[in-house]
């Protein structure tokens, strides 16, 4: 289990517990469930890298305590 912090810098900062083998899509769903948004509207980014839904966090090397940028499309 890892914890990922997602911040949209507009007033929402979500700390999400998830597994490493979850996909980015799963993470988005969890975020959406906690923050109350539509998961399909969420875009996760780190600098200019936009994370794609079908790839796992492990593959993106997202570790415990990492901060991700959250945008809304």
């Amino acid at each position: 289990m890892i914890e990922v912090i997602c911040n949209d810098r507009l007033g929402k900062k979500v700390r999400v517990k998830c597994n490493e083998d979850d996909t980015v899509g799963d993470l988005k769903k969890l975020i959406a469930a906690q923050a109350g948004t539509n998961w399909e509207k969420i875009v996760l980014k780190k600098w200019y890298t936009v994370y794609k839904d079908h790839i796992t966090l492990d593959d993106y090397e997202i570790h415990d305590g990492m901060n991700l940028e959250m945008y809304y499309s």
Partner: protein
């Protein structure tokens, strides 16, 4: 801003709703979890290590105990010497009985031993504890430490009882001596620590034998005792025969010296240097430490042998070969200089190594030849030699006709501006009938020009004379002149053949250039003026004659009338007549002067009569005006310049300004070789004999130039002209040989023409033979 977060249970609920598997329990990959795991692992590891070391210590302890047990074999005091199993069962009576028995046995044994000792003492009363008993004992001091006749008490050195000192066994030492030794070493250490490590004079140059290691002061290990000292009693005694043994302890007094010798031997062996290095070692970029230590042997500098070859200098006496051409031919060619004899290489080692490198390089390049290859090479070489006979190999500086011509061109162009302004006087001098109508050029002012002519063309006249003499001496040249005509490198032109020849010579030397349109116009003007002047003279003469006639007539008439008596009217008539005549004459003169065009030339001359250009003229004027002349140095400089100009004018046309060509000719003739060694090697050394030769040439040059200058001055024409003429003749004949078809091309290749008088046809043949 608050974070939105959910607990694990909540998250699990959400996950279940989303259809995801629940979260993995435990910290898992979280950093804290990792840290915890690491900590526990580390602790476990440490514990294991501690356990292991404990076990090891236990094992060692038990081992030690066992060893102790081994040395302390046997029964202890409390144990009975009988069978141990029974001790528990023994009762008091039996135990006392046994004790008594044991005491009895012990007493009996003691008595027996005493008896035995007594017997032994009685049997061998003289046997004592002597040196024989001491053999095999080690003494911890050097043999040289014991002085003969001195008494020393040696004791057993302290050693651990339980640890068997297997190698040495017991050791005898003298406490005082060992104390002294310790003190000495301490003092030495103190002294060493006070000395600085770096010694300025302790350089490579001063060390003998093996080089010191780097930072050798740290090579010594602290606290390590030297074990080499000491000897074993009786051991060396048996080894070395014939050494007397009269020491109190059975030591060997002579052994100290022997030991010292051995030590010295060891030291020498340690500092030995291998002498068998390769002498001609090739230079390499990198060396091992051993290779670096083998340095180059310094070679003794050889003294240069500066013996002069006297027999090679016979040209010194030869006065340029100018006296007699026949003699010059008979000059035997001196033995050619052997360059290998001249020792101008002083670095033998360097040369040797260079030679070796070269040899190796050639060896590398030369492959193994099969017989077929050799045959092929030979055939090709033979063919090449045939072709090479016709054409000489290229290389070296070649002084050819073309190069000489080019150098002459440049010198001529340098002369041209200097010489150009003075053509007219020479011309007018050459044609003494200046007022003849056929000659177009005359001077403006007869009287003035006369002076100039007297001063200037002297040179030309003397030159003409000398040239004439030359022409007479070399008559045979006329025959070959036709073939020489097209050749740029010609002889000194002959002026004696006439005005045309003189003109051609002057033109060729750039004394005056071809006429421009301006000059032509000027010449025409001058001619006109001359004509006008001539007419004027004629007219003047006529008028004066008329005037004279009229006067005469007048006087006669006057005399006639004088008899009759002259009245006033007649007198008036006569005056009028006179006036009219004069008026008539004036009118005629003005008539004549109507087409008068004056040719004005502004010329400035200095005190010596040299023509000045504008700048110089101004300067001259200024000096005069201010009454202040330039200083001595400046005047001298100017005079020098003028002198140089003069010399330039009088120079031979076929040589360089410094007469180098002639000098080279003479040098070649003297050395008997077709080349001239300018320098050898990259040090620019000149072999001693050749330097002699050069100075000698210079001296002859000086004499020749002196004679030539005197000849040009024309002051002592009679005596000096002969030598000058002969010299120029040799030079010219020598140069005629340059036409030879095959030239020798060498380092400074000018052909050698030692013989010339036999005619120019023989010269090529001669050179071909060489």
């Amino acid at each position: 801003m608050s974070e939105i977060s959910a607990s694990i249970e909540e998250t699990n609920k959400i996950r279940a709703a989303l259809g995801l598997k629940p979260l993995k329990a435990g910290p898992g990959t979280s950093k804290e979890g990792q840290a915890e795991k690491n900590l526990t692992q580390h602790k476990e590891e440490e514990a294991r290590k501690a356990r292991e070391s404990e076990i090891k210590a236990k094992i060692a302890k038990s081992k030690y105990k066992r060893d102790l047990q081994k040395t302390l074999a046997g029964k202890s005091l409390g144990e009975t010497d009988g069978d141990e199993d029974d001790t528990a069962k023994l009762d008091v009576h039996e135990w006392t009985m046994r004790l008594r028995q044991r005491e009895k046995d012990a007493a009996a044994r003691r008595a027996r031993e005493l008896q035995e000792m007594d017997d032994a003492y009685q049997q061998e009363p003289q046997q004592s504890y002597d040196e024989g008993q001491l053999t095999g004992l080690r003494v911890g001091h050097d043999m040289s430490d014991f002085v003969e006749g001195e008494e020393r008490i040696l004791t057993l050195k302290d050693a651990r009882i339980l640890e068997e000192n297997d190698e040495d066994g017991d050791e005898l030492i003298n406490i005082q001596m060992s104390e002294q030794k310790r003190l000495q070493t301490n003092l030495e250490n103190k002294k060493k620590s006070k000395q600085p490590v770096y010694n300025a004079y302790d350089d490579d140059e001063f060390t003998v034998g093996k080089k010191k290691n780097i930072l050798s002061q740290y090579d010594e290990v602290l606290g390590e005792e030297t074990k080499a000292e000491g000897f074993v009693i009786g051991k060396k005694l048996t080894r070395r025969q014939g050494v007397e043994t009269n020491g109190a302890l059975g030591g060997v007094p002579g052994g100290g010296a022997v030991d010292a010798r051995e030590r010295m031997l060891e030291k020498l062996k340690a500092s030995a240097v291998d002498l068998s290095y390769t002498k001609n070692q090739l230079g390499q970029d990198y060396y091992t430490k051993e290779e670096v230590e083998v340095t180059f042997k310094k070679s003794k500098k050889k003294k240069k042998s500066r013996t002069r070859k006297t027999e090679g200098n016979n040209w010194d006496n030869d006065d340029g070969g100018g006296d007699d051409n026949g003699d010059a031919m008979e000059v035997e060619p001196p033995t050619p200089l052997d360059i290998s004899e001249l020792n101008f290489v002083d670095d033998d080692d360097l040369q040797a190594s260079l030679a070796k490198t070269r040899r190796l390089a050639t060896k590398k390049s030369v492959k193994k030849l099969t017989p077929e290859d050799i045959a092929k090479n030979l055939a090709s070489q033979a063919m090449a030699i045939d072709t090479n006979n016709e054409e000489a190999a290229p290389g070296g500086l070649v002084i050819s006709d073309v190069s000489e011509f080019v150098s002459n061109l440049s010198s001529a162009s340098a002369q041209a501006p200097v010489v150009a302004p003075t053509p007219a006087p020479v011309m007018s001098n050459a044609s003494p009938t200046a007022d003849a109508p056929s000659v177009k050029r005359t001077t403006v002012d007869d009287v003035e020009d006369e002076d100039e002519e007297m001063a200037e063309p002297d040179r030309a006249r003397t030159r003409a004379v000398s040239e004439e003499a030359e022409g007479a001496s070399s008559n045979n040249k006329d025959g070959s002149s036709a073939e020489e005509k097209d050749h740029p490198l010609d002889d000194e032109p002959v002026v004696s053949r006439g005005l045309g020849a003189t003109l051609a010579m002057l033109k060729s030397r750039g004394m005056f250039g071809t006429e421009t349109a301006e000059q032509n116009a000027l010449a025409e003007k001058r001619a006109k003026r001359a004509k006008f002047l001539a007419e004027q003279k004629l007219e003047e003469a006529r008028t004066t004659r008329e005037l004279e006639g009229a006067k005469l007539r007048d006087r006669e008439r006057h005399r006639e009338r004088a008899g009759r008596g002259m009245n006033e009217r007649e007198q008036r008539e006569r005056d009028y007549e006179k006036e009219r005549r004069e008026q008539q004459m004036l009118d005629r003169r003005t008539e004549r002067m109507r087409d008068y065009e004056p040719d004005i030339q502004l010329k400035y001359l200095d005190d010596e009569g040299h023509e000045l250009n504008t700048k110089d003229a101004f300067r001259h004027l200024s000096h005069k005006f201010h009454g202040k002349a330039p200083g001595k140095m400046k005047t001298e400089k100017r005079m020098k310049k003028l002198e140089e100009e003069k010399r330039m004018m009088s120079m031979t046309a076929t040589d360089t300004p410094l007469n180098m060509a002639m000098a080279t000719q003479e040098r070649l003739k003297a050395s008997g070789q077709a080349h001239l060694v300018l320098a050898v090697g990259n040090r620019n050394l000149v072999p001693s004999s050749s330097t002699d030769a050069i100075t000698g040439t210079a001296s002859t040059l000086r004499t020749s130039s002196a004679s030539s200058s005197s000849a040009t001055k024309g002051s002592t024409i009679g005596g000096t002209i002969s030598t000058f003429v002969s010299q120029t003749s040799t030079a010219s004949t020598a140069i005629s040989g340059v036409n030879a078809p095959n030239r020798e091309k060498v380092a400074f290749g000018l052909k050698r023409k030692a013989e010339a008088a036999a005619g120019s046809e023989t010269v090529p043949k001669r050179s071909r033979e060489q």
